[in-house]
């Protein structure tokens, strides 16, 4: 008997020596915004439908061609690359009709602030983006971005940023965000990152690795080596930590991975399985689900550790949870009524109320960062991504496929990312769809991909 107990304590004690972590990625650095350059606030001539708005994005001009760590060919070549990244951002989301720098005239440095209108008026582009790039003595880059209305021949907005050379793509995303926000009136979302699970191998023996990338798929990096299964990551609001599930000790457990330190800790010291981790909007609390003797409930713990608070106690599976943007409410999933349905409660666990009453099952609810919608997986035969308002009304389906699940919101609440599983093969991929449901596209990833989690706009 004593021997048995020893055996079991060996099994249940989390052997934290076991690790599945690769080298740590560089921490996120703050982008410095240049002092106001006297930006203007003109009005846009074309107000009909900004989704069909033509935008010409010329290569960014360099004051002089300098060497830079960001591009082997120097700052002139980098200027073109910046414009290509901006074009891809604006195009890939079905929002505008952008034209890239290849095949467009290359403005000189002086023309960035004084466009040569004659060469832009006959290109079926209502809007024009110019910019510049300068390499500083410290190796950092200064990038300026200007948006012009071609018909009005006037500037709509401008901004500049100073970034480390390795973050040059972030300057392009900031420019795309500036253009997008100015023209659509919506909040920015391009300068953000996505954590997800990269999948390889046969269906009955998948290797699943935690990976991160920029919102456009660039700067891809694996966090775990794949020795043990990793699932369901979530970026902290400040991008300093990742919550995810790992089987590294043989059991499903949530870990808090500190990106800067390259180390991880258990979310709670318990021999029970923990899964479905979520951050509160302020990053101070973590929600997790824990099964005790087979019964799963939702718990909250401080991001600094300490005592957990149990938020649900219904017999049945209560799982997941997503905070409203103000942190006052939590939407979650429960099968207490007999099948998976969506419930809303106050952040302290009180006032639990079912909100989904439209037939079928409803799972994986995620509250929009704008607060006005809840995205979820609707299950009625097939799995589809749908949205509803927080009261449960206004159901709209955004996708129609065999198995789409796990929606995650873009930082501005206008686009939803999810993963799609292929019937039989089990192959998975990341997809994005906008709130109209009309613009759906697949995101390129180096391997199959699931469990996406979109982080907020970068600092």
């Amino acid at each position: 008997m004593k021997k048995l107990l020893v055996v079991f304590s060996l099994i249940f004690a989390a052997p934290l020596a076991a690790q599945d972590l690769g080298s740590a990625p560089p921490p996120v650095e703050q982008v410095e915004v240049l002092e106001d350059q006297g930006g203007l606030t003109g009005s846009v001539t074309d107000t009909s439908d900004w989704q069909d708005l033509g935008i010409a994005i010329a290569g960014f001009a360099a004051d002089r061609d300098q060497p830079t760590a960001a591009n082997a060919s120097g700052t002139a070549a980098l200027g073109k690359e910046l414009a290509r990244v901006i074009t891809a951002d604006l195009r890939n989301n079905g929002l505008f009709k952008p034209t890239g720098p290849d095949g467009l005239p290359q403005p000189s440095f002086a023309q960035v602030t004084a466009p040569e209108w004659a060469s832009w008026t006959n290109r079926s582009a209502e809007m024009l983006v110019h910019g510049y790039v300068k390499a500083g003595a410290d190796g950092r880059l200064t990038v300026g971005c200007y948006l012009y209305d071609v018909a009005l021949k006037s500037e709509l907005v401008r901004q500049g940023w100073v970034v480390p050379a390795r973050d040059w793509r972030r300057a392009a995303h900031k420019c795309a965000d500036l253009v997008y926000s100015r023209l659509s009136g919506e909040s920015p979302f391009f300068d953000s990152r996505i954590a997800y699970i990269a999948e390889t191998g046969p269906k009955d023996n998948r290797t699943k690795r935690l990976a991160i990338m920029d919102s456009d798929g660039a700067n891809h990096r694996f966090i775990t080596t794949g020795r043990s299964t990793a699932l369901t990551p979530r970026y902290s609001p400040d991008y300093r930590k990742l919550l995810y599930l790992s089987y590294v000790d043989g059991n499903p457990r949530i870990y808090v991975y500190d990106i800067g330190a390259g180390k991880q800790t258990l979310v709670t010291q318990s021999s029970n399985p923990t899964f479905a981790p979520r951050w509160s909007p302020d990053g101070r609390s973590i929600l997790y689900s824990m099964a005790v003797a087979g019964n799963t409930d939702i718990y909250r713990v401080s991001a600094d550790g300490g005592q957990s608070t149990r938020l649900t106690n219904a017999p049945g599976i209560d799982v997941g949870g997503s905070y409203s943007p103000d942190g006052s409410k939590i939407v979650f999933e429960s099968d207490r009524s007999g099948s998976q349905q969506i419930y809303v409660m106050d952040a302290d666990g009180s006032n639990q109320k079912r909100v989904s009453f439209f037939g079928g099952r409803a799972a994986t609810p995620e509250w929009s960062p704008r607060g006005d919608q809840i995205a979820f997986t609707h299950i009625a035969g097939d799995f589809r991504i749908a949205v509803m308002n927080p009261g449960g009304g206004g159901l709209r389906f955004l996708t129609d496929s065999w198995q789409d699940e796990a929606p995650t919101w873009a930082p501005n609440g206008r686009i939803i990312q999810f993963f799609r599983t292929e019937r039989n093969s089990g192959r998975t991929s990341l997809w994005q769809v906008d709130l109209t449901g009309r613009n759906e596209r697949r995101l390129d990833t180096p391997a199959d991909a699931s469990d996406p989690a979109w982080g907020p706009i970068l600092p």
């Binding site: 369901t232 899964f275 799982v319």
Partner: protein, 172 residues
């Protein structure tokens, strides 16, 4: 005291299955690949066959009934499950040094987090039944793999039926 509790658990799980019909899969999935010929000093009761303390020995002894199956989103123990668990319990009672892990699994037609919870529920359902039959709870660990480890690879009702399972595995 323990025994009373165990009976209550057993009665509860038996009551839960009333009126629920079994959907046994058409064919049984292949045996666990986790069988390792660990050299134990335990004397072998049989000649030539797998050694006591191995998964092979256990699976032979229970006639391959080390896996039980569940209906969609369910975790109750039906009559076929009960028969299999009774054989497992008998083996575990006779071999007091054996400890097991019950792995709970779900089919691919569920969302990931829910399936982890469901697998945990199924593993515990099987564990509670064994405990109800007298197997000490501290000899049974549980782990949920959700939909992460299917044995049948198709996307059809037969494959899903084989994947909704609880597998009893001997800890070496």
């Amino acid at each position: 005291m323990n025994r009373n509790l165990a009976i209550v658990v057993l009665l509860t799980s038996t009551a839960a299955l009333a009126g629920c019909k079994t959907t046994a899969p058409e064919e049984l999935p292949p045996q666990q690949a986790t069988v390792t010929p660990a050299a134990t000093p335990t004397p072998t009761p049989t000649t030539g066959g797998p050694v006591l303390g191995t998964q092979g020995h256990f699976v032979n002894a229970v006639n391959g009934q080390n896996i039980i199956y569940f209906d969609t989103d369910r975790y109750n123990i039906d009559s076929a499950d009960a028969a299999a668990l009774q054989m497992q319990a008998q083996y575990l009672m006779q071999n007091a040094a054996i400890t097991v892990t019950i792995e709970g699994h779900a089919d691919e037609r569920g969302t990931r987090d829910y399936n982890l919870a469901l697998g945990e529920r199924r593993a515990n359902s099987a564990k509670n039944y064994l405990v109800g039959l007298g197997v000490p709870a501290n000899r049974i660990a549980t782990v949920s793999y959700g939909k992460e480890r299917p044995v049948a690879l198709g996307s059809n009702a037969e494959a899903w039926a084989q994947n909704r399972r609880a597998v009893t595995v001997v800890i070496n």
